[in-house]
Symmetry: C2
Subunit: 279 residues, 2 copies
């Protein structure tokens, strides 16, 4: 479905290893389309994604790339994060193998573009925004990179010899691109390109000052937008189980989901969503 005005050799890339994260990928893809991106959209999936979902993904993504699951097998470190599920994010490294693209922007499936962000392609590898928890590290939910088989092999070798201090891709990538914090300010994306939706609570005045300029919101943590409910009668998200995400961002995620994703889902997949129907 590539349009003629598309920049074919640059892409936004995401990852989904199962149908649940695929819902995030779909919303992300639609958020980029509605912001009129001129770049290609690519999604990496693994064997865990159903045929029905693959079909659905193909309606918004130009490229679907089936990749192997890489697991950091580093249970001890992951325990630190109380996120034993994150080992799978090592699968992310496969994005460096998408060498049909000269440059790409990786975005987690739990991110959402609030506006056109094509200007990110002016940045060089590795550009990323600071992690709000420990800002000498970048957050690996959004980063600009240059696909290259050599870099992929080098990353794999590095992963095996050095491991990852957090057991996930963020710890690994921060060790590998370890001059990010000190070398070149151009590699620092503004925080606005990867705003954790909980930032609202950590420095409210900054959020009030800069919040309207948010370009990408990132629903980090164990509770994702798709874990919440949605009341089709009121059109409101009904938060279940916390997560601390900002209500306005959740609402936008759900409105894109309901408008562009939900209605096209195969019944078996749609049934998994905690959509609250009016009684």
């Amino acid at each position: 479905m590539a349009a003629s005005s598309r920049v074919e050799d640059e892409a936004f890339v995401t990852l989904a290893t199962n149908d649940t994260y695929s819902l995030g990928a779909l919303v992300l893809g639609h958020s980029l389309r509605r912001a009129n991106t001129t770049r290609s959209l690519a999604v990496m999936i693994t064997a865990g994604v159903s045929q029905g979902m693959r079909h659905q993904l193909s309606e918004v993504f130009d490229v679907i790339s089936v990749v192997d699951v890489l697991d950091s097998k580093d249970a001890a470190n992951l325990d630190l994060l109380t996120r034993p599920d994150l080992g799978v994010t090592f699968t992310k490294l496969n994005c460096w193998r998408l060498t049909q693209f000269k440059k790409a922007v990786f975005m987690d499936a739990d991110t959402l573009a609030m506006q056109n962000i094509d200007e990110l392609f002016e940045r060089e590898e590795l550009s990323a925004a600071p992690d709000a928890g420990w800002p000498d590290c970048f957050n690996s939910g959004v980063f600009v990179f240059k696909p290259s088989e050599a870099t992929y092999q080098s990353l794999l070798k590095f992963a095996i010899s050095h491991g990852s201090f957090d057991g996930g891709d963020q710890g690994l990538l921060n060790l590998y691109f370890n001059d990010w914090s000190s070398k070149d300010i151009k590699r620092h994306l503004p925080f606005l390109y990867n705003v954790v939706s909980q930032a609202f609570y950590s420095y409210l005045p900054a959020f009030k000052q800069f919040g309207s300029e948010v370009k990408v919101v990132h629903f980090i943590g164990a509770v994702k937008p798709w874990h919440h409910g949605y009341n089709t009668a009121t059109g409101q998200v009904e938060e279940t189980g916390g997560g601390g995400h900002d209500q306005r961002f959740l609402q936008l995620w759900w409105s894109i989901f309901m408008e562009r994703v939900q209605s096209h889902l195969a019944p078996s997949v749609a049934g998994e969503r905690q959509v609250t129907h009016p009684t």
Copy 2:
């Protein structure tokens, strides 16, 4: 008490508007001395600091500068932070008037040097570490600056016309030095020079990886180390009222306090501390 090896025209500068914050200033001053700083130590105080405390401060600080209280009078913004007390931090701006120093490092009275940090004087104005809550802003608890009456006047003018988006000095300084996040990576101090002691909780693996290199810890928030108790029988801090500060940092603060400050305090001031005596 300036030693002959002292670099007289460079200083660490802090601020205390009352006897309570003076306790923090004393511990900070001692932490810099025990790390063998070669720079001068200066403290700005206001009329609210008692004579006994001034005497005590003079035993560790080379310069005591009495300044006026500046208040941002911006109650609405401060309400956002639920910290109506922060207006007084505008008083901080007086540090630019300490023109006997060619270069200086401002440090909040609730910070603690874990090791020698004299290398900070190689940086230029305005250098500071990212704020963990909104990392496109710098945290104004530790910053390198160049005293100058002209800059002081310009800051005051700016404060009056633009205000501060958080009602405190951090919001003001970030608006004034607004190219900090995008212009020069050298102006980005590593987070290690201003680690909020709650960082422990926000990204535990990073803390485990880099925590031993912490240079300065910053006890941000309403609950300060001096609000906790200390059991003189066990030598342990007894946390009261939360604050979420890391136990090891609190313990170090208190051991410096007990060893170098408490024993020298005038009885009236010492009595204010919540020191738990053995029963």
